[in-house]
Structure formats: structure tokens, C-alpha cells
Symmetry: C2
Subunit: 528 residues, 2 copies
């Protein structure tokens, strides 16, 4: 390690600056060396200018070249897996196995995008051939395909130091589309960011790519991120974090002289609806599964279920009793950083004082402990009280959830209807329950990105069909996703060529289909 960590600006390192930040071991509260220099405004500008220049060649890199780059990043991350796990654990309090799993997932995601761009059909090539004899006007030859937007700013998430950070889904999809990326490291895990950033920088050099295809900026406060999003050459933003932070970036991007798209994944309480048949058969299994999902990663998942809606009655009471037993015995664990720990404390304390709520269980943890230890907490409310107090639908980030007991089916529908946009909603029950609750499903379809049946929302599969998105405030724009191969669509736009000679077209649109990709030719799919 260096004495002073510095930003990665293209193939160079930034300068030492007076303003620094430092990782902190949340389990001890002790600072971790080295200190990292916050990028100066000039360094932010340099990284973006390098990205702008790199865009010239990188936006035209072949699918094969981009796939090689993405695979080289994965290989370099794997080569540093132990370092990443060691440093990641120190900076986040997460266990070794979790960080190793995240690295594996991240590499899998990079390779998914490598396959996508190597295969090449993702560009949605369309060809409508000319008809010079058409009357009253001849028909021109019109061809179009997706092309990259330009330099993308990526903000790292606190809760996934690998998979939603420097080399995570935003970076992978932006690079796959052909965009240079400038990453703003999360202040809580600069060392992990540096390791991942070095893996990408090295991959870029190994692949002989233009300097600036990737940069990593450290920043102790909001200045670096704001400067980045305001920079005229940044063309899009990817962000995973709090609603407040995401909305601030959305507002900043929307108020630029040239507004740019922001994909911000923000807050979600991921409601779970227990339909009648669920508790009559699987009380133990659901309570066990829910406990696991709420406490996984110390409840610090954007898909953590923060609301469980179930009917009143003996079955519901038995379920609450079982869940309370598990939640009350949950071992205290280390949260990611002091800010998150304090927010969790405030959230739990606020709910404990709320007269509408009953505290069913709280596991031991010294909430005054500077070491970010947190226990689990389980609350219960009546549906009417929940519907009256909109703060109860706010996200409490951490190992806590809220049972809301309904008197009838109508109350369940009311709760669903009153909900804000969510990443997920889950239904538990029999197949007959699901059919009978088609009205509930219809409401939820309008509110969420992903509906789950008889499962739990944590654990987001990386696959072509995945949707990790949802209407605001779950994300800034529910029309895309930050996980799965559709994520690439956030960072590209269609460009059309009219009456161009074949040899001056990008290969994807040339006569004879030299790349052999799937294309829509005169309205018909063709590979020829």
C-alpha cells in the first residue's frame, strides 16, 4: 500500500491533496491506512476529458475487443480475490465468504456482458431497404443500431463493495455498451475500490485501450460527485444508494444546461404478502426464510423485506411468535459504517417510541457501541394504523422488519395500493391463493420491478430476464434495470443511417451481415 492513496486517472495516479479520506474498520472504529487524497476539481476534469477522448476509439471497439476487456477485468479481479476479501472485510465488516461470493458474482456479471457484446445482437440492428420505385415518393434505405452515449459516471454503493461498486453492474454494462467510465469511489471502502480499480486499469492497459476508458476518483464529501455529474462531457449516471443521495443526483442532472439520464437505484421496503394458504402449511419454513432474508448481510440489502402483510388470527399470531423468537435471538453483527449504523439506531428507536407499533422482538446489541454492532428488531402494527402513518412505509436500512396484520382482504389491497414504487414484492401461498388474489397481483405489477412467488427477494439472480428496478422511488427510471443484460440499454441510444453506402456503415449494419448478428431486415428477423 502507498502512504497516501491517490485517484486513478487514466493510466496515471492523481496528486496528493490536502483533503483526504480514510477507511474505517466498523468492527473496531479504528481508521485503516492509507489515507486517500480526494480528487481535486482539476483531476475530476482531467479524468472526464480523458474519458471523452477515449470515447473516440472505445465507442468503436468491436464486440470482441470489449469482451476481451471485460474478461480481463474479471481475471484480474479473480487474481486479487483474496486481497479484495481481506480489505473488503476490514472496510465493511462483512464476512470473508460474502466478499468472495460478491467477487464471483461480479466476475460472472462481467462475463455475461462479454458474451452479450461478443454475440453482438444486443445492438438491435434494423434495416429497412430502399424502394426507389415507391410512389408518390421513393423509399430511402434506413438502418439503425444502438451506440454508446459517452462517458458515464458511476457511484459505488456502500452495501456491495464489489458487486455494485467499482467493477459492478453499472460499470460492466456501461463498458459493454462502449462507454468510458469514471467511478466515484464510496468513502467507506476506498481500499477495496483501489484494488478493483487497479484490476480494471491493468485490464485496459493489457488490452491496449485508450487511456481514459476508466478512471477512479476518491472523494471525502459531495464535491467530487457533484463536479462529476455537472461536467458537460458526462453523458449518463449510474448510482446505487440512498433515496436522498439518488434524488440529489437526479435533480443535479436534470438542472444541467444539457440534462442527462440518471439511473439511481434507491429505496425499497420490498413488501411480502402472506396469502391464506401460506400460513396453514408452511409457517415454520416462511418464518425461517423471512428471518434469513431480513438479517442477511445485517439487513443491508436493497431487497431486504421491510414489510410483511398477513391476516390477523391464530395462524398469524403463531407466525409472529415464531419469527419473534428468531429475531430476538439474532446475533448482533457489524453494520457497514457509522452513518448507516446511526440511521438504523434512529429508525429502530423511532419505531420503538411509535404508539401505533408493538415491538415484538429486539436482539441484544449495544446500540451505543461505536463499533457499529446492530441487533435485529421486529415490529407489529394494525393495518389501519399503518395506513394512517406514511412514515411506517419508509425504509429502515438494517435487520428490522414490520408485520402488518390485516382484518380482511380489502385491507391487504389498500396497503398494496398505497405503496410507493418498490424493487420487489413477494407473495406466499398456494397456487389457488395466487389465482384468487389476481387483483392484488395486478396492483403489485404496477408498483414493482420484480414479483416473487414463495421465495424471498434477497439474492438477485444475474441473468438476461432479471429486472432490478421499479417505479420511483425504488429507482429514478423504472424503464430499465441495473442487473441483468437489459442493463446495457441505460447507456446507449439508437443512431440511424439513411442511404449510406454499405462500406461506410458500422459492420453491424453492412450488407451481407459480416458479423452474423441477428437483425431486423424489412421487419423480419434475419442472421443472413
Amino acid at each position: 500500500m502507498n502512504l497516501i492513496g491517490r485517484s486513478i486517472i487514466g493510466y496515471q495516479r492523481g496528486a496528493e491533496q490536502q483533503e483526504t479520506l480514510q477507511g474505517v474498520d466498523p468492527s473496531t472504529g479504528l481508521k485503516l491506512g492509507p489515507a486517500y487524497s480526494s480528487a481535486s476539481d482539476e483531476e475530476v476534469g482531467r479524468a472526464v476529458e480523458l474519458a471523452r477522448r477515449a470515447y473516440g476509439s472505445y465507442s468503436r471497439a468491436s464486440g470482441r475487443q470489449k469482451a476481451d476487456f471485460l474478461r480481463a477485468i474479471a481475471a484480474n479481479l479473480e487474481g486479487r480475490a483474496d486481497d479484495l476479501a481481506e480489505r473488503g472485510c476490514q472496510e465493511t465488516g462483512l464476512p470473508d465468504g460474502r466478499i468472495q461470493m460478491e467477487t464471483g458474482r461480479t466476475c460472472g456479471q462481467l462475463r455475461l456482458f462479454a458474451e452479450l457484446v461478443e454475440e453482438g445482437s444486443w445492438v438491435d440492428a434494423r434495416i429497412d431497404r430502399a424502394d426507389p420505385d415507391r410512389t408518390p415518393l421513393p423509399k430511402p434505405d434506413v438502418r439503425s443500431m444502438m451506440r454508446p452515449l459517452g462517458p458515464v459516471a458511476v457511484f459505488c454503493a456502500s452495501n456491495f463493495p464489489i458487486a455494485f461498486s467499482v467493477a459492478g453492474g453499472d460499470t460492466a454494462s456501461a463498458l459493454a455498451a462502449g462507454n468510458p467510465v469514471v467511478v466515484n469511489a464510496h468513502f467507506a471502502h476506498p481500499g477495496t475500490a483501489e484494488l478493483a480499480g487497479t484490476a480494471i486499469r491493468q485490464a485496459a492497459e493489457e488490452c491496449g485501450l485508450a487511456e481514459g476508458v476508466f478512471s477512479l476518483l476518491f472523494g471525502s464529501g459531495l464535491r467530487v460527485g457533484r463536479k462529476l455529474v455537472s461536467h458537460p462531457h458526462i453523458r449518463a449516471v449510474g448510482f446505487t444508494g440512498s433515496r436522498k443521495g439518488g434524488r440529489a443526483l437526479m435533480d443535479l442532472a436534470a438542472s444541467r444546461p444539457e440534462p442527462i439520464p440518471v439511473f439511481a437505484e434507491m429505496s425499497s421496503i420490498n413488501p411480502i404478502f402472506l396469502l391464506p394458504g401460506a400460513l396453514s402449511r408452511r409457517t415454520d419454513q416462511i418464518a425461517q426464510g423471512l428471518y434469513g432474508s431480513v438479517t442477511l448481510g445485517v439487513g443491508q440489502f436493497c431487497t431486504k423485506p421491510g414489510l410483511v402483510v398477513l391476516n390477523k388470527g391464530p395462524l398469524g399470531d403463531e407466525f409472529a411468535r415464531q419469527l419473534a423468537g428468531q429475531m430476538g435471538a439474532a446475533p448482533a453483527a457489524t453494520m457497514l459504517h457509522q452513518g448507516i449504523h446511526q440511521a438504523y439506531r434512529r429508525g429502530v428507536q423511532g419505531r420503538s417510541r411509535n404508539q401505533s407499533l408493538e415491538l415484538l422482538a429486539q436482539s441484544a446489541s449495544d446500540l451505543e457501541d461505536p463499533a457499529c454492532q446492530a441487533g435485529a428488531a421486529l415490529f407489529r402494527a394494525e393495518a389501519a394504523a399503518f395506513l394512517k402513518d406514511s412514515s411506517l412505509a419508509d425504509e429502515v436500512f438494517g435487520p428490522s422488519t414490520l408485520l402488518v396484520q390485516t382484518g380482511d382482504r380489502n385491507e391487504m389491497l389498500k396497503i398494496a395500493s398505497a405503496m410507493e414504487g418498490q424493487l420487489t414484492a413477494t407473495l406466499h401461498g398456494t397456487e389457488e391463493d395466487l389465482k384468487e388474489c389476481s387483483d392484488l397481483v395486478q396492483i403489485l405489477e404496477r408498483k414493482v420491478g420484480r414479483l416473487i412467488f414463495n421465495g424471498f427477494p434477497t439474492g438477485v439472480e444475474v441473468c438476461p430476464a432479471m429486472v432490478h428496478s421499479g417505479p420511483y422511488p425504488a429507482t429514478s427510471d423504472g424503464r430499465s434495470t441495473s442487473v441483468g443484460s437489459r442493463a446495457i440499454a441505460r447507456f446507449c441510444r439508437p443512431v440511424c443511417y439513411q442511404d449510406f453506402p454499405s462500406s461506410s456503415l458500422p459492420p453491424e449494419l453492412q450488407d451481407g451481415n459480416p458479423l452474423g448478428i441477428r437483425r431486423l431486415v424489412d421487419g423480419q428477423l434475419a442472421r443472413g
Copy 2:
């Protein structure tokens, strides 16, 4: 005609209101009957509430049902083609043939979307099947497809009273995706809007659709549109118009408690670059074509070429001389309305007084005439002067264009680099020119939605490959298009179903593919 025209709110008519607006024949300045009542705030709310309710059933309508609706709209428009032409001509000053052509184009567009949704593959259905034996964790069954966003607000354009208005591309694509639509009529052609709106309303009734799938609101000022875009149940906005108007809607939508996406098509000067080989062979042809493109529809096209970049020298001078001859002899014609006519006057007067510009030609027209008559105007500037004065790159909406003469190739690149986002850019020359100017093409690819070779940008083909979009300020979000079948992507979002039983899935995602659509199954395209 009624004595007082009123908004169409679902299957009802709005009330008579004190606030009214009236069409004006721009060729005479005389008001056209009847007066139209501006929708009250309560009526705006009622139209949106009906749309929200209609969304429940219409969002689940089959592709076939939606196709029937779109085709019924087309048939009803065709049944009113003569009325539309008569009223459209009165309200816009455009000739009969133009309005008839627009109606034909609009019906073709409705049928394009009917085919798209009837075929069904547009939903991008994806299925990743479960693998219960996968280690360390079983793989869930994950399926996703595009679903409609919810009620869409559509703003009519002044310059295309049929094709970009009540039944235009925004409405067609939003309805095709399964969204109810609330249209804000353009103040300058309320009678045309009423005819088209009645055609849609009637089609909705014929097809037995829920009331509220379509409404048409009249408004004399900004109040109705603002109320509409601010309404919490409106989920997206489509707009074609001025940069000022579009940006105001973007800002309003971005500042909502729940921001919503806006697709605004705004301003563009559609530069044309004449490469060396163009003028040596086709001076007459290009001058003639450019004259036609600049003066088509009295220059009131969003794709009108407002900038022509060419080299200095005898060939360029001869081209300028020929074009000036035609522009100077252009017959005066009626502009759409007084506001546009006044803005054009101000634009031409401002350029006439600009010391950096030379007025090469101006055709006769009494610019003081209240009857909105406008003549053509041709200006010339040196490249250096153009680069110094950014106002020269502003859009002047009307039959005027600006020749910018460059001393060398480098100046041409500088002009391209300095350009804002555009809908189109056009290159004229030989195929060799195009190859030699690959650097220019690369710059333009980043700036525009559509590149044209040896043609003219006016006349936007409605086809699957068309892109009518471009980086800001050409549009609010260059990642989509308002013409062509990709336009549907603006108004839908992916929804994912995890481990759902097949019978509770939408048909598009069910086992056995009952609709026979194209789907991505485990990463492979399949129709089975």
C-alpha cells in the same frame, strides 16, 4: 359543429367554461368558430382519474385487442379525411394535399403499431428457467417482459396537426404499449384536434374499451398542460414543440415528488455538410433539393436544414448564387400561426442586422402583414464568424437557412464539434468523400439521431429502423425515438416474475408459448 366546443373526457364531454380558445385562420387572421372551453382543473383531474381506472383493463388488453383499436382509429380518421383536411387547412394555412398526406401517414403509423403489438414479440419476453440442483444456491425461474407505464400525457405539435398531434406517433405508441392517453390539444388547431379526438373516442367505444382510455383536453394557456404533467397519476409525457416549452415540461416533470420520464422533441438545425465531390458534380441538383427542403411546409419542419457548411471557392460561390436565385424567388406562404410568424420575423430581422452575416436573398413578403405571410431568406457567414457567435446556431423556425463557408477541412470539423445535439445531419459528396471524412462522420454520430447521405432530412420515413431523436436539445432523451416502432419503448418498463406458476403468468411468459411470440429462453431466441 357545437356552439361551444368542449373537451372529450372519456366518453363524455366537458362542461362549458368561461375560459375559451378559438382557432384562427392564419391566412386571414379571422377567428374560426366554435370557441372551445378550456378544461377546468377538475376536468383535467377527471380525465386522468378515468385514465388511471382504464389502465386496469387496458394494460392487460391482448395484442389483438390493441391492434383492433389502433386500426379502428385509422379507419375512423380515414372516414373523416376530408373534414380533417378542410378544418386542418383553415387552422394551419397548410395546403389540402399536405393534410391529406399527413392523415395517410398517421393511419400508416397506427397500422404499423397494430402489426407490432399483434405480432407480440415487442414485449421482449425473457425466460431463464430454474435449476434446483445448482450449487451453492438453486437457480430460480425468472421471466420478464415489457408492460405499460400508466396514463401518458401527450402534447400536440403546431406544425403537424395530424401526424404529431391527437392521433400521432406519441398517442399511437403509448396506446400500443397499453397505456391510456390524455391529450393536450394545441391551441392553434382545436377543431382539427376535436375531429381526430372524436375518431379515437368512437374507436374506443366501438372496441368496447374502458372509458378513459382516451381523453382530449383543450386549454388556452399553460394551465391545463401544467396541471396534466403535475398530476400524480400521469406516468410519462410525450411532447413535440419548442425548446422553451419542452424544457419547461422536463423541469416540471423532474421536480415532481415522483419524477416521470418526458420525451420532448424540441429544436434542431439539421446541418448539411457539402463535401468536396458534391459541388463538382451536382451543384444544380443539391441547390434544388436544398431549396425544396428549406421551404417545404414554409420551413416549419423540425428537420428543416438550418445550416449548410461548404468550402469557400468558385464552386461554393456558384452554389450560393444558384440557391440565392431560388430562395429569392420563393413565393410567400402562410405560416402556422401568429406566434410562429412573429418569431420568424424576429429571427430573420435579427440575422439581417447581424454584422457577421451577409443576406444573400430574401423573397418578397409583407412581414408586417397580419396574415402570417412569410418569404424565404438566405444568409451567409464565414466559418470563423459562425464559431464566434453561438446565436447563429439557434433554430430559426421558418423558410430560412444559413450557408457557412469554411476555408479548410479543419474548420468543418470545428463546426461539427461545436454543434449541439441535433435530430439529423446530412452529408453530400461521393462515396470517396464519405470515406475520407470518417472523422467528420464520427463527430456527427455523437451529435445526431439520424445521418443522411446525399439526401435531405425532411420527410421522416415511418419504419422500424427510423430514429427521430437526438441528444439534447434535439430531444429530452436521445435514448429513444418518436417515430418508428422503437417509439413504443418510451412508454413501457420491464416487469419480472420469479417462480410464478405458469397459469398465473401473462400469456407472453407462459410455458408452451401460447401466443407463439419470439422469446429469449435461457439466452437463446425461440418461438416454441
